[in-house]
Structure formats: C-alpha cells, structure tokens
Symmetry: C2
Subunit: 386 residues, 2 copies
C-alpha cells in the first residue's frame, strides 16, 4: 500500500426530504447565489423545496449552466458574484452545475487576471468562496470531492481543476430526485460512477486489500441496483444505494494508497469536446479498448475483478481477465450504452490521430498508472474503439 493522506470535510445529509437541511447550513446573513442548469428543477419540485427552505434569505439566481460546464457561461456568473458581492454559492444540479460552482468558488477569490489560468496552469485552490450543493443527478461524485472539469468551447478544451479549498461545505442527497431523471441520464450516471471505480482499481496489485474490496463493493452494488433503478426510479431502496455508490465512487476514499489510471477519462474528454458525446458514454467507448490494449499491465486486477465482481471462477488468469472485459462491455450494453465511437458519429475517421495530436501539443507525454501511455498508444486505443 502506498503512503497517503486523506481528508474529506464535506457534511452529507442523505435521505428523504433532506433538502430542508440547507437552511441550517448556510449562515443567516449570507448573500447567496443559487446556481442551476437547464431549469428541470423548476419542473420536478426541487426548486420549490430549495426556495421554501431559503425563505426570507438574500438569494439571487443564475440558471442555464450547461452540461459540460462552459467557461463563457460561468464568466457571466462570475460577473454577477462580483457585482452583487455574493458570499455563498448554492449549486442545485448534477455534476456540471456543481463543477461549474467549484470553478466559481475558486475564480471568485482568484487574484490573477485570467480565470482560465486556474485550469490552464493547474493552479490548486486552497481557499474558495464557501458553497453547498443539492444533488439532482447521481453520477460524478462532485458533491463530495474537491475536483471539477470545465469546458471551453472556443478552444475545444476540457480541463480539470481542484484543491483542498473546493470541497462543498455540505451536500444534500435526497434519493427521491431520481424519480424525475430521464432513463438516459440514469444510465449515464451508473456508467460514470462505475467507470470512476475502474479508473482507481484497474491497475496492478499493490496489497491494498481493503481499498480493493471497497471498490469491488461499489461495483457489485451498482451492478445489482442498475436494472432496478432503470426499471423503476421510484424504488427508494435501489435509488438510495445508487446515489450513495456514486458518491463513494469518487470521494477520495478508494483511491488512497493505490495507483490510479484516469487515461480513460483523459481520452474520453476529447470525444466530448470533439463530438459532444455524453461524458459517461465516452468512458464506455474507451474503457474496453484501453483494457484490451494494456492487457498485460492490468491482467492481474482484471482477473481479480472477474472473480470477485462477476463470479467468473473458471479458466486461466488471462481467460478470466478477458471475460471480465467482455462482461464490462455487456454491462454497459444492458444500460443501453453503445460502446463504439461509430455508433455515435459517422464522422469518426481521423479521431485517433487528432486526439494523439492534442495530447502531444499539450505536452501530455504519457498517461496511465505506469505513465507509459504515450500519444501513439492513445491513438491505437482510440482506433480500436471506432
């Protein structure tokens, strides 16, 4: 097991009708900016619950944060924060709204001239404007971590940021929100969370027995609840387990003391930037090819995953490992998630070269847990995913 440090101070309120807890978590005298996305919260009752809880408080709203939170839109919100002297942010939405809010939390206190530098120059945020979240779409885990991914359309960039100052002060997780989420987005959420676990698990054995088992626990739970959640989003028990699994998949715990990969995300982000493919689906496109291409590096963990998560007990280590990749692809298919780039765009020729070129230009010498995945290898993986 590797040396690590771990601290996660986010206060989670989990369960039915927990939205009312926000009243006690935001200082009475705060000037609050309520941030949300496309306005679904006004249809599904969540907006009503939030505004009821904040009745009598000083609240300004900013809606319209798009999926893959867009820098240009966030700059408008940043202007509002400064003009109105906002001192507390409340994100009501999924990963995009929460990630956008994290950028704003950092940018509001950033002293440089160009907020994009926070992403471009990878500046860690030690102190941000305080914020809380009301999660409306389980998927990214952003509600209990300190990272964010921001997109800039004009340059086709999608970059990550973070720092210990960017943990939400509190996050509200009410599994009842799942009832109003379209099936497509539920499938994305399951795929996203499952992929997060894979990125932190599918590397090589390092003797971190408990972290491995926790990761396997999350994957087993997601596999178990996925059909129930998709069939009946009002199934509160399934919704609860889905929601908590998504949070635990990326709150830092299972990555501590182990090597992590994240190449699938790095490559997947390019597909979203180029074709607008849903984030989760890009992961399902890249992961199987990535594991097949890097089979020798990953076969021990693939075989462990085969046995413990998919109950594959027959065959050699290599056979189990191969079957585990097939099972993973089957799982994505069972969620109606296509795993080939050509199923999303007919315009895929040249994608592999373009992504390799992007990585080279950005100076990303090598990805993966061994830092051996050079742009030429990335090109091959993407081509295997066509």
């Amino acid at each position: 097991m590797n040396t690590f440090d771990f601290k996660n101070p986010t206060h989670i309120f989990f369960g039915k009708d927990s939205i009312q807890e926000i009243a006690g978590q935001i200082p009475e005298d705060a000037k609050i900016l309520l941030l949300y996305g496309g306005g679904n919260i006004k249809k599904n009752g969540i907006y009503q619950q939030v505004t009821t809880a904040l009745k009598g408080r000083d609240v300004i709203e900013f809606g319209g944060i798009p999926a893959n939170p867009e820098y240009a839109v966030l700059l408008q919100a940043l202007g509002l924060i400064k003009a109105q002297k906002i001192d507390y942010l409340l994100a009501v939405g999924g990963g995009s709204v929460i990630d956008g809010t994290k950028f704003l939390s950092a940018a509001a206190l950033y002293e440089g001239a160009e907020p994009w530098d926070i992403l471009k120059k990878n500046i860690r945020t030690l102190k941000g404007l305080p914020f809380g979240t009301v999660l409306t779409l389980p998927a990214t885990g952003s509600e209990m971590n300190s990272g964010a991914v921001i997109t800039r359309k004009e340059t086709q960039e999608k970059l990550a940021m973070g720092g210990p100052g960017l943990f939400p002060q509190f996050s509200i997780l009410d599994p009842q929100v799942i009832q109003s989420i379209p099936e497509r987005q539920l499938a994305n959420g399951i795929t996203d969370a499952f992929s997060h676990v894979l990125e932190q698990y599918m590397t090589y054995p390092i003797g971190a027995a408990l972290q491995d088992r926790f990761a396997e626990s999350i994957m087993q739970t997601l596999i178990e609840v996925a059909p129930k959640v998709l069939k009946d989003p009002t199934d509160y028990v399934a919704a609860s387990n889905f929601m908590w699994s998504c949070t635990m998949a990326l709150n830092g715990l299972i990555q501590k003391g182990v090597p992590t990969d994240w190449a699938v995300h790095a490559i997947g982000h390019e597909l979203t930037a180029m074709y607008g493919i849903d984030h989760a689906r890009t992961l399902a496109i890249i992961a199987p090819s990535h594991y097949r291409f890097n089979f020798d590096d990953k076969k021990e963990k693939l075989a462990q995953y085969a046995t413990r998560v998919w109950n594959i007990t027959e065959g050699s280590l290599e056979e189990k490992a191969q079957k585990a990749i097939d099972k993973t692809e089957d799982f994505f298919h069972s969620l109606n998630i296509a795993t080939r780039l050509s199923e999303y765009t007919s315009n895929y020729e040249g994608t592999a070269e373009k992504i390799a070129q992007n990585f080279t230009e950005r100076g990303w010498v090598a990805l993966g847990e061994h830092k051996t995945l050079t742009p030429d290898k990335v090109e091959k993986i993407v081509r295997m995913s066509y």
Copy 2:
C-alpha cells in the same frame, strides 16, 4: 436505508515515516501537551520521532494514562492544561490515550463545575481544545472518530462521551508501529475492530447494500490479515491493511443509514469494570451468546455474513446463521482469545445478576437495535457466557 448525516473532518496521514507530518499540522505558536501511556513509546522509537518532529516547539509532557483511561489520572492532566495554559493536545498512543485526550479536549473548555458530568449527563461536545493523534496501537478507531470511553474506578463506571467537536484534527497512522506491539495486544486490536463492525452490521436487513458490503469488506480483510500480522508484525502490507481496517471499522462510515446494536459493548464494559478484563476480550466473551440469544432477530444478517464473509453456502438460512456464530467464535480462538467468562475469572458467579442490576439502576431500560434487550435478557446473555 435510513436517513443520515455524515461528516468526518479528520486529516489522516498514513504510511511509513508519516510521524514527521505532525510538525506541519500543529500551529507554530501552540503550547502543546504531549500525552502518552505507560511509556512504551520511549522504548520503540516513537517518542524519539515525535520529539524530533516537534524540535523547537513549546511542549510539556504528561505520561501514565492507563488502559481504560482513568478519570482520576485525567484530572491531573486537566490541572496541568489549565495551569500551563495549554492550547493543543497531542495524543501518542492507542485508544486509551486518545480517548483520554478527547475527554481532556472537552473538559478543558467545559464550564460546569464537575467534569464527570460530561459523561454522567451525556453532554455532547460541540467545541473542544484542538488535538491530534499519533496512533501506536490499531484497534479502537478513536483516531478518526469523535467518541471516547472513560473509566472511573471509584464508582466502577465506564461511560461514553462524544460530539462533533471531538474529531482529531489530524491522525498519524504509520503501520511500522505494529512491529513493537506484543502479540496479546495485536490480537485484542483485531478482535476489537472486528467487533466494531459486528455491532454496526449484525442487526436486520434494511437495504443498505453498500454499507453492508463495506462492513463485510473490513471483516474479510481482518480475517485475511490476522494470521499474517500475528505471525510477522514486520509484514508491512499486512500491517497496513490491519491498521486501515481498524480505522475504517469505526470512523462512522459503515454505521450511516443502518440500525446499530452496541449491546455487546455495553455489556462488555461491565466485565472490564468488574474484573479488569481487556476490552476486546469482553466483546469476544459476550458476542457469541448475544447472537445465540437474539438469534431470531439477527438470523437474516447472520446468514448473509455466513455466505459472504465465511463462504458458507450450504444449509438453510438458520443453519448458515448458526454456523456463522461458530465461525466467529473459532476466529477469536484462532487469535488466542478465550470466549468464556470462566476462562478469565473463577469468581464469575453472580456476574449476570450484578450487570442486570447495574443497568436497571442506571435506567438503561433496553438495549440493542430493537431496544428490546431489557436487563433480565442481559442477565441471561451474560449467564450464557460463563
């Protein structure tokens, strides 16, 4: 799954040579009280590492905190804290030293006349004197939670306290400390951590799939590493997994959203108070009888535990459940932990009646996850454990 809230702000530094991290975690100008137990830390090099890390700082020492931290001793330390205007506590030890330090953290800022009231009147501590810990004995999980248990010899009481103000600001977990721990204490640590998981798991099914799997993960890991740790305490991988399992067993995570029991601890504490039996061993004495006595209430979870943790796949639900209790007892025996009260004292007659009487006098109407375990039932369980 039940509604819950969860927050754990303790900063963990885990791994080889992590003791040096304390220098960066305690404010430069703090007046520090270094607290420890019987002085083993002066023999195993830990005291040396701590004082080297704190070189040049304003540090006073208080040693001699006994196992089952004794109120009278802690009052001496409290006097020192007040006389010397101490503003930071550093616990270097196992659960007893850390629990004692939590009491001091609370008592230092307590405004009532009688510090024992914090325990007697169950006063929750919202703000305590800040403190950190260097863990020298994995077992209790006290290094990453906000609870403590304090003993008062003169009244034969052993009571719990806690509150959100009592999380350590940081805890240092260096698995190398295990090398110098006597086998008896290692066995106690494994038993203690395993029992903590059982208290939060062995109740009834409530559809908390992820919490169940996390609990099972910790038990599987403890079972796997126990023989390795006992055979060779210098096995760093085994030591790491043992240490992290103990912390995760009682840092709040696996108890969220599920019913918990804690009757085994409540009864066990009485045995320690009456006979001075090691805390962990009292749990091993009581748990099997407790599960046999409350078999109908617990058989579903016992059977799930049988299958997932002990790989018992044959037989009816009841048969699996029974075998799981036997397996648990066998596990304690494999650690050289006796599971009968009569193996610890020949003076056991009347123990059951005395404990039932204590509970009645304290107004403890009923224990357990269903709050149905009245003193007369407790009496039967204790008698079954003779």
